[in-house]
């Protein structure tokens, strides 16, 4: 039986981050696909409070919440660092991951799935948050500088998932308004390691594009 298991959904950007982190560290793991409509006993036992993926199970111990899992992976296994080693740069990485998850993802999804006045309100807030990210990526290839960092992976949703989800529903991250984020998205999605580890587009399209 594998010492390391990941419980997830194949199309989840959060699960993608965890799988990439384990691969970066060269850790072999067993991936267990969950069913969102019929969550397994293992998932419900491993994450009884939130009942969500991803879950990392290592030697029988469950670790939950994406960023907590990434920090655990970084501390447990040797290999390329997932977070910067310098305390200040590490604090900045945590700050930007938190900003992307709490402010950008949240408002993006609300803008996408709501309608009318409410949609406009969330769209305005999302745009303000994206302008902050646009400024942050200006002059840099990746959020981590010349190399991909945990912040780039946190923004994987913006680069890969959101264009699919929002297609035909609304425009948010347009090239005119956010040229630096567009440029970054292209670099990120075409990075050899990322490209090999994102869910294939031919299965993503039927799942996310509106009929």
């Amino acid at each position: 039986m594998s010492k390391v298991k990941v419980l997830g959904f194949w199309y989840s950007p959060f699960v993608a981050r965890v799988k990439m982190a384990l691969k970066m560290k060269g850790v072999e793991f067993e991936y267990v696909e969950e069913n969102i409509r019929a969550k397994s006993e293992l998932l419900l036992e491993s994450n009884p409070i939130h009942k969500k993926v991803p879950v990392l199970i290592h030697d029988g111990k469950a670790i939950v919440e994406t960023m907590i899992i990434l920090e655990y992976i970084d501390q447990t296994w040797e290999g390329p660092p997932i977070l910067p080693r310098d305390p200040y740069h590490r604090a900045m990485a945590r700050f930007w991951v938190n900003f992307i998850d709490e402010k950008c993802l949240n408002t993006m999804l609300k803008a996408c799935w709501r309608t009318g006045e409410e949609q406009e309100k969330w769209k305005e807030e999302a745009i303000l948050n994206f302008q902050i990210l646009e400024n942050e990526i200006k002059g840099k290839k990746y959020f981590g500088g010349d190399e991909i960092s945990v912040v780039d992976h946190a923004a994987n949703f913006i680069a890969y998932w959101f264009p699919l989800i929002s297609w035909g529903r609304m425009e948010l991250v347009t090239e005119d308004q956010f040229p630096n984020l567009w440029r970054w998205s292209s670099h990120y999605c075409n990075h050899p390691f990322v490209k090999d580890n994102l869910p294939p587009m031919d299965v993503m399209i039927p799942k996310f594009k509106p009929a």
Partner: protein
């Protein structure tokens, strides 16, 4: 320099006043905290610096009229607390506490050394901040009897989970951090003053010793 109010810190975490005074030693003089004395999130930064015996300057902010310094050092959220260490600014209370734990090697460890224990500490800190503590503020501001009843029930359910977490993390000792104040003690401990105020407002003992005897201790 303005120290955190000793009585406030001592009473919320039951620190021996003598130990508290002895702990305040000069270790780094280029550290500032921008905050408000009554804000639990600011208190977290202060507690962590105190544990690490780091001298710092406390700058009281007016949240209705934010200083240029605050807006410069936290341009994204424009909120307190902000820790300024030399030419570096660190924002968000949990991130500040982890930064203090990483950057200063004086004093006891704040986060556990074991990776799994560390993950558990982060998990429960996020639970307190995202799920449990926000209910306290809503309860304090709610005037609706039925809503209050429901919120109190949810707080008690969360308290039972935190009690189990405490038993697991403390391993029979006085704090979440074992025999010394650690990360979760700082995160939850900073909330206690507001919790006590809410108890007075709503007339309910939220840190109920019948439901969470170890935590209440």
């Amino acid at each position: 320099m303005t120290w955190p109010r000793p009585g406030y810190i001592v009473s919320t975490l039951h620190i021996n006043p003598t130990d508290y005074c002895i702990l305040i030693m000069a270790a780094a003089s280029d550290v500032k905290v921008l905050g408000m004395w009554s804000c639990p999130y600011v208190n977290r930064a202060q507690l962590a610096l105190c544990i690490k015996s780091i001298e710092y300057e406390f700058i009281e902010e007016n949240t209705l009229k934010k200083s240029d310094m605050l807006l410069k050092h936290n341009p994204v959220h424009k909120k307190i607390p902000v820790l300024i260490h030399g030419d570096k600014s660190v924002c968000e209370s949990c991130i500040i506490v982890e930064y203090i734990a990483d950057a200063f090697d004086t004093g006891p460890r704040i986060l556990p050394s074991d990776a799994y224990d560390r993950a558990l500490a982060r998990f429960w800190a996020a639970y307190i901040d995202d799920k449990w503590y926000p209910l306290v503020k809503v309860l304090r501001q709610s005037g609706d009897k039925e809503e209050r009843k429901s919120l109190v029930q949810k707080l008690f359910e969360g308290l039972i989970l935190l009690e189990e977490a405490f038993i697991g993390c403390s391993k029979g000792m006085a704090y979440f951090g074992g025999d010394s104040i650690g990360y979760l003690d700082i995160i939850l401990g900073s909330c206690l003053a507001c919790l006590r105020v809410t108890e007075k407002v709503v007339g309910v003992e939220l840190m109920d010793p019948t439901k969470a005897p170890q935590l209440a201790k």
